[in-house]
Every structure is written in C-alpha cells, then in structure tokens.
C-alpha cells in the first residue's frame, strides 16, 4: 500500500516536471516572438520594405535581397560538396581509413569554431589574398566554408541511418554502388539531409560575425545582385541599427528582426513541405 502511494507521488512529481519544462520552453519561445513581433511589425511599412535606403526610411530592402542571395548561392556551393563528401565518408571509404579519420576530425573541429574566426579567415583569404575585396562574394565564400561541416555531419548521419538491408536489396538485384547510392540511399536519407540544410539556412540568415569582416556593413540605397558589391545582410542591418544613434533606429531594428523571423519561418515551412513532397515522391 505504502509502495503504491509512493509510486503515485513520484509519478505525479515527474508528470508535473515534464509539463513545467514543456510549458516553460513554449512560453519562452512565445515571449521572444511576441516581444519582437509586437514591437517590430507595427513599424514595418512600404518604405521600410521596398523603399530606398536613407537615414529616414532605414529601408531593409537591399539587405533582404542580399540575405536571400547569400542563402541561395552559399547552399548551391556547399550542399553538393557536403553531400558528396558525406557519401564518400559513409559509402565508399573503407573502415579505419586514415583519410577518413582526418576528414572527420577536420569536420568536427570546424563545426566547433566560432564564426568570428571564419570571418577573420575569410578576410585574409578572400578579401585580401584573392582580392575579392569586401564584397558579397567574399561573404558567400566564407559562409559556404562555415556551413560545410554542418551539411557534412547531418548528411552523414542521415545516410548512416539508412538500413543496410536496402543497400543489400539493391546490390542483390545487380545494381552498382553508384545507382544504389543515388536511387535508394539518397532518397531515403533526404529528410535528414534537408533538416541539415534548414539548420544551415538558419546559420546563414543569423550570421553577423563572419560577415562583418568579409561582406562588410555597408548598405546600398537600392538592392543589387552584384556579387562584387559590399552590402550587409538582414542580421547585420539589425545589428547596425541597434547600435546606431538615430532616434528611430532601435524601433527599426525590431522591424528588421520581425522580417528575419518571418523569412526563417517561410523558409522552414517550404523546406518541410518540400521534404514531405520528396518523401511522397519516393513513395510513389
């Protein structure tokens, strides 16, 4: 009787703890979102969204365009390299291979390096040595290197989690390694790879330290796709506004933050939808 009552008490305490933690997490998230959106959204107007930048509008238009440009081109560079690297590590490299150990060590180390170090590296290599100057291109190159470890390790995990019996089934039908990888392994691993890509997008969108030294904090009046221009992203725009002394710049920093949140939400939403679609395609 006594034991039963004690068990009941313990399970009640555990239940309450779990609920408390859950509510706390969701609560903090909602608090942050509301804090930024409530202060930021009312300040968003057409001038701010699509107007020309000046000290009056503090328009985010050119920063939005650059942010999207950087996300797309960086992913375009590092996703193929990262995924192929992961394929090599999991499917082709022999176990205990020295090269693999070195690559893994490098990937893990790179993943743990603070982004400001990437920024300094990018400044020395791309800005100075290769002569890209402070430009969107330098920023993209730096970001690509920065997200590479993330893409590699998440793709590697995703590919590793594909059961060996699928590979055996494919090889047993006379399919080669390459076909097995592209037709069976990669489609099955796609949701995992996509979640790595989502994380990478998050890092790019939120990155400031690595970009201040490479693409610069400059802001252009009108959006440009010119890779050699020096132009800030949204996160840097927000950082600069928050530290600038203009009377309304703090408010506009929140407005920028709101746009940032909305963009990240849209990207995640479409990527998840896309993952579902791909999952269903391979189902068909």
């Amino acid at each position: 009787m006594d034991v039963l009552r004690r068990r009941k008490t313990i399970s009640l305490i555990l239940k309450l703890t779990v609920w408390f933690c859950g509510i706390l997490t969701v609560g903090i998230l909602i608090y942050i979102l509301l804090f930024i959106l409530l202060r930021g959204v009312p300040k968003i107007n057409m001038e701010f969204l699509f107007g020309e930048y000046n000290s009056d509008t503090l328009s985010a238009f050119s920063s939005v365009v650059t942010t999207i440009e950087m996300v797309i081109i960086s992913l375009f560079i590092s996703v193929p390299i990262g995924v192929f690297c992961a394929i090599y590590l999991t499917e082709y490299a022999k176990r205990g291979n020295k090269t693999v150990k070195v690559i893994r060590l490098a990937v893990d180390t790179l993943a743990g390096i603070p982004s400001i170090v990437f920024g300094l590296f990018g400044m020395i290599l791309f800005v100075k040595l290769l002569g890209f100057r402070a430009s969107v291109l330098s920023g993209i190159c730096t970001l690509s290197i920065m997200i590479l470890p993330l893409i590699i390790s998440s793709s590697e995990e995703a590919i590793k989690s594909v059961p060996d019996m699928y590979r055996e089934g494919s090889l047993g039908l006379g399919a080669g390694r390459l076909r097995t990888v592209f037709r069976i392994v990669l489609p099955t691993a796609m949701p995992g790879i996509l979640s790595g890509i989502i994380l990478a997008i998050g890092r790019i969108v939120g990155e400031t330290a690595a970009l201040i030294f490479t693409s610069g904090t400059n802001v252009l009046k009108n959006p440009t796709l010119d890779l050699m221009a020096s132009q800030r992203t949204l996160a840097i725009h927000m950082y600069m506004l928050a530290s600038e002394g203009l009377p309304h710049s703090k408010e506009m920093a929140f407005a920028t933050g709101s746009i940032l949140i909305i963009i990240v939400f849209l990207v995640n939403y479409t990527t998840t939808k896309l993952a579902g679609r791909i999952g269903r395609l391979s189902d068909e």
Partner: protein, 249 residues
C-alpha cells in the same frame, strides 16, 4: 544437370575460417536446403553464391564456384552474376517506395525504360509471386504498408523481376507467421520448375516439406549432403542424426 558446382571452397573472414573445403553440386529445377545450427556457415555459403560477401571487408575465398561451368569469381561481372542469381533476405527489405517501383527497380537497373514493358514485368513478377490480385489496386501505394508476409513475397517478386536463373533465399520465413510461411513454401514448390532454388532454413520441417536435396552444415563443413528424404530418414552420419533428432543444435 548441375546448375552450380562448388569445388574445394574455403572462405576466411580475416583469420577465421568460415567454410572448410566445401564440395557440392546444386541441380537445376530443384530446391536445395541448407540446414545446421547458427554460425555453421550455411548463410555464408549462400551469400558467396552471388558474391554478396564481396561487400564485407576482409573476406578471402579460394576454390571454385561455377555457374553453368563458368567461374563466378573470375569470369562473370558481379552485377551480371547478381542478375542471374537473385537473392531474398531474412528480413523482408522492400525499398521505401511504391509496390510498383519496388518491382520495376531491377529491370530499370538493367536498362529497361519502356513503360509498357515495365508494366508487363511488374504484373508478371507479382503474379509469379502469387500476390497480383492482392496488390493490383494499390501498386502506387508504399510497399512499407504491406504486412510482413506480403513484404517478403514482394521481395520474391522483386527477385523475379530481373528474370534470374537461380534464387537464393536466406531464412526467408523466419520472421513470418505460419500462414505467410505456408504461402511462401507453396510458392517455392510451385516455381521450382522454372528456377534453381537454394534455401537456408533453421526449420527442419520446412526443409522436409519443400526441398529435394538437403545439406547439413556444422562448423563450416558439409557433414552430409543427400536427397532430403534419405537425409532425414536414414542419415549416414551420426552428427546429422543427432541434429535432426534434436539431440543438439
């Protein structure tokens, strides 16, 4: 006629010798069963017949294995060999795709692209595996939604799809319920007129029910290989008798 000849085969996993001096002739249009306790080498021998052992690091084989008198380790490309010698695994392993795509994967691999041809192959293979009527209305549905027994028959259909001559089955019913097991056994007996079938099984009743020849394996050696009826009624070797009467294993 002997479809497969195994001559003086020794197989090593690194230092460990898994198969010792195996000699065996496997006949066309018969079901040959391999029985024996776990770790006796029966699955290893089965897998080496379509070179699935190639995938494991540190495997060394000497001796000869001949398919229609051609050495499968020297004179046939592994991909061609695996097309001619199909395999069904212990756990049903349909790909995470539709039923149709599962069966069409093999022929597509070997260069068939024409939709009508693929449709034909899918229907024939599923009919041959006696499951066309069950799935014809849901070919586009995921294969993972099928029951375990259906999944295994789908894997058999998938093996048929590349038109093999030999089908290897590695304990194909060990994960299935009795009714699914019976369906697969009936199926195997039914199709042996067109194929050469080699099956590894833990279930001695299964071997007696369906096989024509049985090989008893122990510690990497073939202790006895004979007509199933004879091996189970009048085994020549004491160890075989001990095993089939349940005294060990």
């Amino acid at each position: 006629m002997s479809k497969i000849k195994i001559e003086d085969v020794n197989l090593y996993y690194g230092e460990f010798q898994a198969l010792k001096n195996i000699n065996m002739n496997i006949k066309e249009n018969e079901i040959t069963a391999f029985i024996g306790p776990s770790g006796c080498g029966k699955s290893t021998l089965l897998k080496s017949l379509n070179r699935m052992n190639d995938l494991i690091e540190g495997v060394k084989i000497n001796g000869r294995m001949l398919l229609d008198d051609v050495d499968i380790y020297k004179d046939i490309d592994a991909s061609v060999l695996r097309k001619r010698v199909g395999m069904v695994f212990q756990k049903p392993n349909p790909f995470p795709m539709s039923i149709y795509e599962n069966v069409a994967y093999g022929p597509k691999t070997h260069g068939i692209k024409q939709r009508s041809k693929l449709d034909d192959i899918v229907e024939q293979s599923l009919r041959a595996a006696a499951m066309w009527d069950e799935v014809k209305d849901r070919l586009k549905k995921s294969a993972l939604g099928l029951s375990g027994g259906q999944q295994q028959r789908l894997c058999i259909a998938r093996a048929f799809s590349v038109n093999p001559e030999v089908i290897l089955l590695d304990e194909p019913t060990s994960a299935l319920d009795p009714i699914s097991t019976m369906k697969i056994e009936d199926l195997l007996v039914d199709i042996k007129k067109n194929y050469t079938i080699v099956i590894v099984t833990h279930n001695m009743q299964q071997a007696t029910r369906i096989s024509d020849k049985t090989g008893f394996f122990l510690h990497g050696e073939v202790v006895e290989f004979d007509d199933t009826e004879k091996l189970f009624s009048m085994p020549e070797n004491k160890k075989t008798e001990d095993y089939i009467t349940g005294r060990f294993g």
